[in-house]
């Protein structure tokens, strides 16, 4: 059973989104997603300063099985990217909600956060898919 922390928001494409309270959010992939992908061997993080639209592919996570695009959950500007993943991509497997974060986004519309899935809705999505 994969972990779905209650205090985070989620997307249908299996990103988690954490509200940092200052107009920015931190984004990573869920425990369920990392489990499905298997051992992650490479992460291409987005360029800091890049403007992204909601659901725009902006990062790539490559595992021994597949390479998957990571989508921006909402529109905004990339303000930080997790450089540690360059050397230790498996941080996403070890700690998907902590050390395995992928990028930080300054939201164009902070109010849009509410449009994302909450933990229950995401759990339902995972249950439906499995």
């Amino acid at each position: 059973m994969s972990e779905v922390p209650a205090d985070l928001r989620y997307t249908k494409s299996h990103e988690w989104v954490k509200d940092n309270g200052d107009g920015t959010v931190t984004v990573g992939i869920t425990d369920h997603a990392q489990e499905a992908l298997g051992d992650i061997v490479f992460v291409e993080t987005p360029e800091v300063g890049r403007q992204v639209d909601a659901e725009e592919p902006c990062a790539v996570v490559e595992s021994v099985k597949a390479a998957s695009d990571i989508y921006a959950p909402l529109a905004g500007e990339i303000v930080d990217a997790n450089q540690v993943l360059a050397d230790t991509p498996d941080a996403i497997n070890q700690d998907p909600y902590g050390d395995g974060w992928i990028f930080t986004l300054r939201l164009k519309d902070p109010g849009a956060l509410g449009t994302l899935l909450d933990a229950d809705a995401y759990q339902a999505l995972v249950d439906e898919e499995s």
Binding site: F42, E44, E47, E62, S63, A66, A67, D69
Partner: protein
């Protein structure tokens, strides 16, 4: 027994099972305007005796001319052992060995090829080859634009002293993908590409990459350190286009300038691949390790199996189209397996010293040829800079006429530079590889002197019967 094991009944049964009337109906998604229908230009089949007769007569037409043309494809000696080994049953396939458990020999050979290419280019990573030198350069350009995220630019600077066919291929492949190719001129006295020429075209614009070829199309050696550093300061990636034989004696791209080139590519034909009327050849592509995820094509890695024994396998396949689909690094990322097999065996037979001797011998022969040819009145070197194994010569009469007359004497005298560089006309590019002997070079000089004399002398009242 038919080669295609489907009988008409089999086909009818399969079509019935999926509810389709005909095989043609399976392709109805393709708009009619894009379908060619019958292949009207393809003649009917011939019997074995007829085809043998046709091929023999065509082979006779080729004759056995003496080749003094280089211009991107070179007439080198290929030891008989190369193709004897390459066509053994174990190697004789052009296919990618996806099944590691059944392909250790081929995979190891490709791994050796990659090791040889990284040794020659001084870069960390090589793939298992591209189609040819020109498409390898196009892929290098696409790779550089993808990789250079610091400079948000789709402009790539290419010297005009780069092979004209390479420039055409790069434009054909890259321009439709939104990449702008700028061309920098060459120095008319030296034949090289000066930094000022790059500066003049680039202006203040940002560049994703700068292409530097060593030697350039005229055989001239470029000031690669200076050019590399110029590109680096502007934040552009550096793509080196190189001749693998020349790398035996020249500084490898990985050592150019302060930080080295980022990508190197080139034509592997000089390594054991026959001229064969222009192909198939193989392209080489190497890069720095931090660009490996942007590199298209097959890469073979060495690893340990469950028992701790070394083994070889295709690696980093997530970049490729069978996994990443439309987002693959390239959709023309196959390799030239059989030709790479020959190139690897060729290099293994030659060894590092052997390759160096080939390079030195080509350089010396071309120098000797140029001495003999420039002794003819009106024939002079077009450019003053140092060359590797080709030199551009100015002629006192139209180049096409002279080359045609030489060809009638079974001498392929060189490449007509006026075709792609009208401002240089009349001029040819000549090359003498290690295959050319003193007698052959003298024969060329004698014939050329005679052909030029007949073309430049006051018109004789009697028209020659054959010109």
């Amino acid at each position: 027994m038919p080669f295609i094991p489907h009988t008409d009944e089999d086909i009818a049964a399969m079509l019935a099972a999926i509810g389709v009337d005909s095989i043609d109906a399976l392709f109805d998604e393709i708009p009619p305007g894009l379908r060619i229908g019958e292949l009207a230009a393809i003649p009917a089949g011939l019997a074995e005796m007829d085809i043998a007769r046709l091929m023999q007569s065509r082979a006779r037409e080729d004759g056995q001319p003496l080749c003094f043309i280089g211009a991107g494809a070179y007439d080198h000696h290929i030891p008989a052992a190369v193709w004897q080994i390459a066509t053994r049953g174990e190697f004789y396939s052009a296919y990618t060995p996806y099944q590691a458990e059944a392909s250790q020999g081929t995979l190891q050979l490709l791994f050796e090829f990659q090791s040889m290419m990284t040794a020659l280019t001084g870069l960390e990573v090589s793939n298992a080859s591209m189609y040819d030198g020109a498409s390898a350069l196009a892929e290098a350009v696409l790779m550089a634009v993808r990789a250079n995220r610091k400079v948000q630019s789709n402009r790539v600077l290419v010297p005009r002293a780069l092979h004209p066919a390479y420039r055409r291929v790069v434009k054909a492949i890259c321009e439709p993908q939104g990449i702008e190719i700028l061309e920098a001129g060459f120095d008319r006295a030296g034949g090289h590409t000066p930094v000022e020429a790059l500066e003049a075209v680039a202006g203040d614009s940002q560049l994703a990459a700068v292409v530097i070829n060593q030697p350039n199309f005229f055989g001239v050696l470029e000031e690669v350190d200076e050019l590399t550093d110029w590109a680096r300061v502007r934040g552009a990636l550096v793509i080196g286009v190189v001749n693998p034989v020349a790398l035996a004696v020249l500084k490898p791209p990985g050592d150019w300038g302060t930080d080295g080139a980022d990508i190197a590519c080139g034509e592997a034909q000089p390594l054991g691949i026959p001229l064969a009327s222009g192909g198939p050849y193989a392209g080489l592509l190497c890069c720095k390790k931090d660009l490996v995820r942007q590199m298209p094509g097959r890469i073979v890695g060495r690893t340990l199996d469950l028992d701790g024994k070394p083994g070889f396998t295709l690696t980093l396949q997530a970049r490729e189209q069978h996994i990443r689909r439309s987002k693959a690094t390239s959709n023309i990322c196959t390799n030239q397996g059989l030709l790479v097999t020959a190139a690897t065996i060729h290099l293994a037979i030659l060894g590092a010293q052997g390759l160096e001797r080939v390079a030195a011998s080509c350089h010396a022969n071309t120098g000797r040829l140029v001495d003999l040819l420039t002794a003819i009145p009106g024939v002079e070197p077009l450019f003053g800079h140092q060359v590797f194994h080709e030199r551009a010569l100015r002629l006192p009469a139209p180049a096409a006429d002279i080359l045609r007359s030489l060809a009638a004497h079974s001498i392929l005298g060189g490449f007509d530079l006026g075709l792609d560089y009208p401002e240089l006309d009349p001029a040819i590019l000549v090359c003498a590889t290690e295959l050319r002997t003193e007698e052959e070079m003298q024969a060329y000089a004698t014939k050329l002197a005679r052909v030029i004399a007949t073309r430049t002398q006051a018109r004789c009242p009697v028209e020659p019967k054959f010109s």
